[in-house]
């Protein structure tokens, strides 16, 4: 394989590693269908790869979300144009343009959480998302209550950094 080919492959991998997660989450929430979401993510990243110049002057994440959103809208319109299918599924609720920014932000938050060390993410899941007290989390995770407290503290500190890295300052 040529050097250019390898560099190209690197670009595809980088695009995927850096953006596929949040993009997939976003699109899956729009379509509610994992197969369709995969197709849209693939097409979106493909366009990013083919048009590196389009990405030069703007935040790439917002660009990707916009492209993906438009692809979902197009699919949606195409389905609506075929009346025999309208009864088949609930109409997808599409976000307004101004919601895009919020979506970019919340998926960056999910990404920041996913980037935490396992033990930090785990303790936040227990204490925040599952609403457990320090004592309950201590039992579930099998660690002393003092450790639950210190991990929660350090997890929030680490999350602050991860958010700041993504331009989200608490």
């Amino acid at each position: 394989m040529s050097a250019a080919g390898t560099a190209d492959e690197e670009l595809v991998r980088t695009l995927f590693d850096e953006h596929a997660g949040p993009l997939y989450g976003y699109v899956l929430r729009l379509t509610g269908d994992s197969g369709k979401a995969e197709d849209v993510v693939q097409e979106t990243l493909l366009r990013a790869w083919r048009h590196p110049d389009a990405l030069a002057d703007r935040p790439i994440r917002a660009w990707l979300f916009t492209v993906a959103r438009n692809l979902v809208v197009d699919q949606h319109r195409a389905r609506k144009a075929r009346p025999q299918e309208t009864g088949d599924e609930a109409l997808t609720i599409l976000p307004a343009e101004d919601e895009l920014e919020r979506a970019v932000e919340s998926w960056a938050v999910a990404e920041a959480l996913a980037a935490l060390r396992q033990e930090h993410r785990e303790v936040l899941m227990e204490v925040y998302y599952r609403g457990r007290s320090v004592k309950e989390a201590s039992a579930t995770l099998g660690i002393p209550p003092g450790t639950v407290k210190s991990r929660t503290y350090y997890a929030l500190r680490a999350l602050k950094l991860a958010l700041e890295e993504r331009g989200l300052a608490p």
Binding site: M1, S2, A4, G5, T6, D8, E9, V12, R13, F16, A20, G21, L23, Y24, G25, L28, S34, E38, V41, Q42, L45, L46, W49, E105, S106, W107, V109, A110, E111, A112, L113, A114, R121, L124, M125, V127, Y128, Y129, R130, R132, S133, V134, K135, A137, G146, V148, K149, S150, R151, T152, Y153, Y154, A155, L156, R157, L159, K160, L163, L168, P170
Partner: protein, 297 residues
Amino acid sequence: MTCEEVRISLGAHALGALDPEEALEIDHHLATCEVCGTELLELEGVASFLDKVSERDVELVASPPRQVLDRLLDDRVKRTRRGRLLLVAAASVVALALGGVAWTALDDGGPRQTAASAPERAASPAAPSAESYAARSSTSESSTGESSTSESSTSESSTGESSDTATEQPGTLADRSALPTPTGSQAPKKAVAGPEFRGENEEADYYATVMAWPDAAGTELAVQLHGVPTGTTCHLRVVGAGGRRDVTDSWVVGDAAYQKQNAFKTGTGLRLKDIVRFDVVNERTGKVLVRVKVPGK
């Protein structure tokens, strides 16, 4: 309570996870300690981001579907290769005799000798997106020269080999497996027998055999499938060491042209010794039908 003791509990406090007595103790301390109070505000600021997402969101972000990456990489390889094929087509206009003959021979005989594959290969240079690929390719003139040269030399060598094989071996996969070590008066240039690799998808009851032997351009391949439904369009993804990959042309399982032949012949630019596995991929869904590993890699 000292500031140090309080501080370590502030995370849990910000999330409301302390038991009431301890929370009260902390609040007492906070009433008089500005430093700890500031810290709590900061942690509450971080915690306020948590309600923007759900636990499931975090899972989704952490595990994007890997098959999308596979499909993207396959797609990239295909586009690059179609670009190269186009250049060969262009070159054959200039060097009409040489190029034209090579193409004909490639289509009618040799590794890709079945009727089903020929129209596809012939069609690809004329595909609707041809201009854009051509435009892409022409931007890098130096690589243009290189690829067309190497590609046409490939064609030549295949031509030489395939005319031997085409006349001698219209037969089955078993026949072809004997090809590299010919018997009798036929003495093709190939003298190295290729290994055979098998894989299965137990769940679906699909089986694949890939035969491989080195040639000047890389590796020549023959794929035989069992159990995969008729009409499935497949291609072979060839994965090399270090994650390098190539994608072959596609073929249709059980296409009439294959009934007799029963194996799809193709090739890859990767060298046999670098290949770690083959994936038979459903062209439409991008799903791997059968994975064929090269032992010892």
